[in-house]
Amino acid sequence: MKVIGVDVGGTFTDVILVCTETGAQYVHKVPSTPQSQDIAVTKGVTEILETHHVNPQDVGLVVHGTTVATNAMLERKGAKVALLTTEGLEDVLEIGRQNRKDIYSLHATRAEPLVAREDRFGVSERLDSEGNVVLELNDSTIESVISKVVKRRPDSVAISLLFSFRNQDHEKKLLRALSPSDLYVVASSEVLPEFREFERTSTTVLEAYLGPLVIGYLRRLDSSLSKICPKSRLTVMQSNGGTMLASQVRGKAIGLALSGLAGGVIGGWEFAKQWKVPRAITIDMGGTSCDISAILGSVIVRPDNEVGGLPLRMPSVDVKTIGAGGGSIAWIDNAGVLHVGPQSAGAQPGPASYGKGGKDATVTDANLVLGRLNPEYFLGGNVRLNLKKAQNSVSELASMLGLSLEETALGIVRISTANMVQAIREVTVERGTDPRGFVLIPFGGAGPTQAIDIAEDLAINQILVPPHPGITSALGLVCTDLRVDLMKTVLMSAQKKNRESLLSTYTILAEEAEKRLASQGASKENIRFKWNLDMRYKGQSHELSIDIPKDDHDKIVEKSISRFERVHEDSFGYKMSDRDIEWVTARIVAESTSGQFKPLKHSVNQIAQPIGRRAVLIEAGSKVSADVYRRWELATGQVVKGPSIVEQLDTTTYVSPGWVATQEKDGVLWMRREKK
């Protein structure tokens, strides 16, 4: 079978085609079409089939990573939504949590609510904190509110009533009453059955806001792709790092909020898995931004996120995006301190060395000045870099700083590195893990050039460079598994008497997850489960998530408590002996492998000779001479000692002194710190 992955980026849409039988991989790039992403997607698929003479009938699966939802959130271009809330609380969405973003801003602003006041309707009904009915929702109320809603001519309706996570009855009644309409209708007890009314309401509204757009897009794409590859199914990447059948996205559109970011993480993780690396950090560094993610045994999926100021309480891959790319601009503030980014020179005008009119020194310019990049061979020779222009831009900063050209270039790289290191700390240290001992997996056009700087700062000893760093995100799509995340708030004390109730919740969740995967074509014996339990001391309202492997379910009380206490003590320095411990939320993740991905075969036997030598600046005033290699010429098992430079079509890998790189038979380049 042939599997196609299509990843839509800001500049290019990357297409990868793999043959599951032979492991053969083909790659293709077409310019993205931001106004309707499906145009480039369809074009890319058509072209890759033609170019490599692949029979469209052989394509069984197309996996798609899209930024349609993300862009709609950033640009506020979603559907017209009507919101039904408990009467008296129509403004919860607008007030938010009552705080402002920046405490020192005298013009406090916050994101405009996605639903205007006149489209928010109070419903006369009320539940108490246990879910008991305080005020019944009667039929005449339903009738009158629906007639008001319809008059506003919305595209979709969000229903979010107080305490609906305790009792869904009232929301269900409204859902049923609205079902004859052809509106896109969603209820908070289905979208996010969790406490805290603002977060639940805003997430439900977001589903209603994105749904019509995302569903429309996928329907259009599905229909044009089925004309090209009639036997193929279309799946989409979700924020949680798993795929789902495009035809089943209805009601779960919000799950695609970070669809376009997850592919890179999965791509990096695929190599971690092949090499049995349990702990890794993926760095996808492109021209303008850098996406960073930590992998701990598997991809980390966090319960919430934020896009364009809109809170998102949905499981999403823990990717941190910062404005640190090759095009990030270096600048000096009025007190003479050097900063790098977040502004970027982008592709137009680009770094000074592109010679397209850019005057600002960027990270790429600094790397060029340092000798790490080849002016004649950047991005496979497609972009010629002008060293003189890079030097001029950097020396302008140097004279303002009173430093040498070299010191300044090193400084730019150091600060850009520090920005990435800070982001890595946020996804590791701030979540309680120590990045030392992790493997760094750098990709994107700029990642491998600075990977060792990052590793040095974090005391990391091993770096895994994928075979084709530039297309790792698209590769991630074709390696992805079908995935379903389910959760249920249980809220009970961690005691023997509640054991059966907890276990039966898990059973119900597992059955539901299995059913959903099966309906997408998974076979039952291939489904893998992961069990988690959010726990806290009674009285706290934030939880620690504890792993509960299936084997521990017999002793779930003891195992969960001892594990919770250990994590609490590790994270916060203490545990409490006389407090009740609570089970709050049971979570289950079910995954099923969609297609077998075979690693590349890199079969070069003849030891490659350097194609040349280049002077590289390693510290102020100190230059070394580095051997320059071409990546595809390196023989399997060949060891390259730093200082060296390995060039390839889509990136440049810099091996600094004290490090050695080894080319492996699956195309991976391992860089390791030499023992002192």
Binding site: G88, L89, E90, D91, V92, E94, I95, R97, Q98, N99, R100, D102, I103, Y104, S105, L106, H107, A108, T109, R110, D128, S129, V134, L162, F163, F195, R196, E197, F198, D333, N334, A335, G336, V337, L338, H339, L401, G411, R414, I415, A418, V421, Q422, R425, E426, V429, E430, D457, Y537, G539, Q540, S541, H542, H568, S571, F572, G573, Y574, M576, R579
Partner: protein, 528 residues
């Protein structure tokens, strides 16, 4: 001069994220909704002399005032602050703000030398005193407001010492919650110290300590530069507090301000003497409010630390409203008077930088506390929250509605948390449309919040302002609507004073309507 500008930037960011991690740990482990949901807490790092080095951006009134608490711990306890200890303080006359704000301070040691401090402040929902919540409407002495904690050691060998806090747990109506929150404060300092150690491991203590000093100098230089262009300008302004809850009305706060070559000199000479009610503002909170204004106007992109403030000289007569003598009542000073100090300082600066200064915001925090017996648990409860209102408009921007302004930035209590934890029910939570002052740019609207009492005989305490004197508009803009407090029972509406404590029966509804913000520029209809 910064020796190594690159290491400087790297360490600066590490220290800020360090403080942020402290705040996260505090919230994640806290027990009371006021801390875990409303985030009424702040964290920061200090050098070995108790000077602020870096902070997380939490609650402005806490942040500017924290250093005085740290320094009073150093002064009172110096030698006993050994490794593994932490100190606790809330005394407004020893660098504190008001009694519910408990500050925990931990020394950080390197090779036997005390090199830094981590500290955090959290608002506890009850610390004793005459009314639940320790924010009484009508107190006239600090002794009515709760237990006074002078600097004392409460953690030894990294363990919270029960006997050192026994009197606190006896004074409060909610000892379990206090113990949980104190543990959370300990966790925050623990996380801060651990992380600081890691930064030191990467860069070495010498570089780290050098950066402490460089950061301070850097911020001083930049604040000075920002003010320099206004040098020689003088201005003054007066605004009033509505009341003190003890018979005092229209209490003036006056400021004289001069931009000097060294920075700025602020003089509160014409301000009222201290008053009998509880709006007296401890000196730490007074300074904090002034600092806030200068950072907001002139230092938005300058790292906040002691250096920012070294260019601000503040004179406050002792025995005045803004620097009261023991045993004046102070519980509303930190939350209400602080907001008026901001109004006054901004009002004065409006004459120097008219385009930067917004009209007055709601000018109050609308402090609401409700306490009584929760029949569901058989235990006492004490609920505290503050309510947002209208932000003042500024040139080019209408003010935001239903938002916390100036000296606070706490979140709301989620209704689903509030009703789960307390015998209360929220009946209404909405924006008070049309209450922002009109103008070329509109002031933000206030909030209406109604809470029904579901327990017998609860004590409701309110500390609020801008119930008599409207938040002012600027440059021809109209003032914001006044706030109002009322109790609705049996279909009748009873109005409640700005500062009050009342006992309410089951079924009563307390309704708070918060003020709107002032408008900026003449309203379109009034233009000629």
């Amino acid at each position: 001069m910064i020796q190594d500008p690159i290491t400087f930037e790297v360490i600066k960011n590490a220290l800020i994220s360090n403080s942020r991690e402290m705040s996260q740990a505090l919230r994640r482990t806290a027990f009371s909704p006021n801390i875990k949901e409303r985030r009424d807490c702040s964290c920061a790092l200090f050098d070995g002399d108790g000077r602020l080095v870096a902070q997380s951006k939490d609650i402005p009134v806490h942040l500017g005032a924290l250093p005085m608490s740290v320094r009073s711990c150093i002064k009172d306890l110096s030698n006993s602050l050994v490794e593994g200890t932490m100190a606790l303080v809330n005394d407004p006359y020893s660098g504190g703000s008001h009694l519910p704000d408990l500050t925990m301070v931990a020394p950080v040691y390197s090779e036997g030398r005390r090199v830094a401090f981590t500290a955090n402040r959290a608002h506890h929902a009850d610390i004793g005193g005459i009314s639940p919540g320790s924010m009484p409407g009508l107190s006239t002495s600090i002794h009515e407001e709760g237990i006074i904690i002078k600097p004392r050691i409460v953690v030894e060998d990294d363990v919270l010492q029960q006997d050192a806090i026994a009197d606190i747990l006896t004074s409060t109506r909610t000892p379990d919650e206090r113990l949980g929150d104190l543990s959370a404060q300990m966790a925050a300092n623990h996380v801060g110290a651990k992380r600081l150690g890691e930064v030191a491991q990467t860069h070495g203590w010498p570089a780290l300590l050098r950066t402490f000093t460089e950061l301070r100098n850097y911020s001083t230089t930049r604040m000075k530069q920002a003010l320099l262009q206004y040098h020689g300008q003088e201005t003054s302004f007066t605004d009033m507090l509505d009341s003190d809850g003890a018979g005092g009305w229209e209490i003036p706060i006056s400021i004289d301000l001069e931009i000097t070559p060294k920075g700025v000199r602020v003089d509160f000479g014409g301000t009222s003497e201290q008053v009998s009610g509880n709006v007296n503002c401890p000196i730490a909170s007074t300074l904090s409010s002034v600092y806030y204004v200068f950072i907001s106007l002139f230092g938005r992109d300058i790292p906040v630390n002691e250096g920012c403030w070294s260019v601000i000289e503040v004179d406050v007569p002792e025995g005045s409203l803004l620097n009261p003598r023991y045993p004046a009542a102070v519980s509303a000073g930190n939350v209400e008077t602080s907001q008026r100090i901001v109004d006054v300082t901004l009002g004065a600066l409006a004459k120097i930088v008219p385009d930067l200064v917004p009209a007055a915001s709601q000018g109050t925090m609308n402090n609401l506390t409700i306490g009584g017996l929760d029949l569901r648990t058989g235990k006492s409860f004490s609920f505290y929250e503050t309510i947002g209102g209208g932000a003042g408009a500024s040139k080019g921007n209408s003010g935001a509605s239903g938002i916390h302004t100036h000296m606070t930035n706490t979140l709301n209590t989620p209704i689903e948390s509030l009703e789960t934890e307390y015998p209360l029910r929220v009946r209404k939570y909405s924006i008070r449309r049309g209450t922002g002052g009109s103008g070329q740019w509109q002031g933000g609207d206030g909030i209406t919040r109604e809470i029904e009492i579901l327990a017998d005989k609860c004590t409701i305490s309110i500390q609020s302002e801008r119930r008599n004197l409207r938040p002012w508009g600027f440059n021809g803009g109209q003032g914001g609507e006044l706030g109002r407090n009322m109790l609705i029972y049996d279909g009748r509406v009873h109005s409640i004073e700005a500062k009050s404590s009342v006992v309410a029966p089951r079924g009563a509804i307390v309704r708070i309507e918060t003020p709107g913000g002032g408008g900026w520029g003449p309203p379109p209809s009034m233009k000629k």
